[in-house]
Symmetry: C2
Subunit: 314 residues, 2 copies
Amino acid sequence: MKVLALTGGIGGAKLALGLAKVLAPDEVAFVVNTGDDFEHLGFHIAPDVDTLVYTLAGEANIDTGWGRQDESWHFMHAAEQFGLPTWFRLGDRDLALHVHRRQRLAEGATLTEVTRETCRRLGVAEPVLPMSNDPVRTRVLTPDGPLAFQHYFVRDRCEPAVTGFEFDGVEDAAINPEISALLAGTSGDGLRAIVICPSNPFVSVDPILALPGMRDMLRSAGVPIIAVSPIVGGRAIKGPTAKMMRELDIPAAAGAVARHYRDLITGFVLDECDASRESEVADLGLATTVTQTVMSNLDDRIALARDVLAFAGA
Amino acid sequence: MKVLALTGGIGGAKLALGLAKVLAPDEVAFVVNTGDDFEHLGFHIAPDVDTLVYTLAGEANIDTGWGRQDESWHFMHAAEQFGLPTWFRLGDRDLALHVHRRQRLAEGATLTEVTRETCRRLGVAEPVLPMSNDPVRTRVLTPDGPLAFQHYFVRDRCEPAVTGFEFDGVEDAAINPEISALLAGTSGDGLRAIVICPSNPFVSVDPILALPGMRDMLRSAGVPIIAVSPIVGGRAIKGPTAKMMRELDIPAAAGAVARHYRDLITGFVLDECDASRESEVADLGLATTVTQTVMSNLDDRIALARDVLAFAGA
């Protein structure tokens, strides 16, 4: 029986690593946002997929929060000399993953197939499933017009005010067939729970949920759907979630995240410092639990994974 | 008045550098073999063009004889982990040139345009002209079948015996229009001499000469055509020239190189240690000169360039 975990990049990947540590590789599968993907320098960049894969491989760069550990930047320095754009940094070792991916995509492999190969090469046994093999591109809407997600996120450092989001191509994107099979129960593996990791609801999880049929399939799986709040004490641990909520006139609070997911989830995990908000979430008709959700180290990740699984099983 | 120098990689690039040091940037142009080019890891690799450009830029890797100086190999090590072929080594800094080239070719730029941009970025003022913007691919014929040039040269370290050569695509390849214009006298620049650098006659110079119309255009330019022997004392300074000659049943001697070019050139430069062969070459109806052609350092390169220019002017 598998746990299916929906995740974006860094925040979600922390809980994903915890789940990978407490479950056997065939007891878990990860559904990863690809709305952040883009083409850059002729490479297919998949930030959330790569953050998760590097994290599970023990290869994540802890210092930067993205990219590969023990990284060097000789390519990047030389790229500057050639007038190539340098706002998105590709390390020398990280380039190998990208050259491999480009080669395989050019040969006709799907992003899922390439990701499986990447996992095998890096010793990751858990299934990492891009949400779709078709292109979906998140646009951040701002008063000055739409921005491609990485332009907003990396180039412009999340500075523009956000008025909304679009997921270009999502109407024509098919759910990754391996995810559909898991959700429909036709994969041979049963599901025991669905976990929405503490990722940004708007730009990490919503692109997954926006895939045609995804919400219905998740609900139809008939298992607990548990979301872990990415907002703790009114702040995001990392990234622009709280800033976005303020700009969207949504209170930057755990309860608002629960409301965001309320028509989908069955349970919600709040941090200890938001214990006073528990009844507010319960009033939405959701099961709740309160625990330490801030994951500073591997033990925290494992502890939260255990708590989430216990909550889902309760 | 320009000197047009035909060259391959390392040996030819040494004399090319000497010419660049004694001539103003508008007094010289380099015609470079692209028969060695190939697609690798999704990049367009142009070994002779790049060796020349890096040499002229003072960026050539002296230790390896190819690639860029101060190079690191983090990409390559990581590439191994992804099962990417590693027999052809691309350094981290060298990758920037290749990513730039791929980007620009994908945008529709010609190899000549990209090379001009590369030169500009690296501070090379002399025109570096790929022999053609169309693909020509040298195949080395062996008893076990044809080998793509880089498979023969790098992967198999020139070990297979050579029975001949083919230049795939050469019938349909047009001479680089900037070269045609120089040779036809329609570029606005006059020519004073054509120099065949001491490159491998079979795989560095013959692909250039095999372009439809090239031999006629060179002869019709009506200027001295001087070849510098790549064979000194029966040996090649670098590379498989002498080995190839033995396998092709051609004596590995300077005189045999002169005979190879005899229907094209007007003069031939022999090394001091081959002075005894001078009359043999003169008997072919060629002007001859004897000088030190082994270029161990920059002074040697400059001295040989001066000698060749003096010989061409005589």
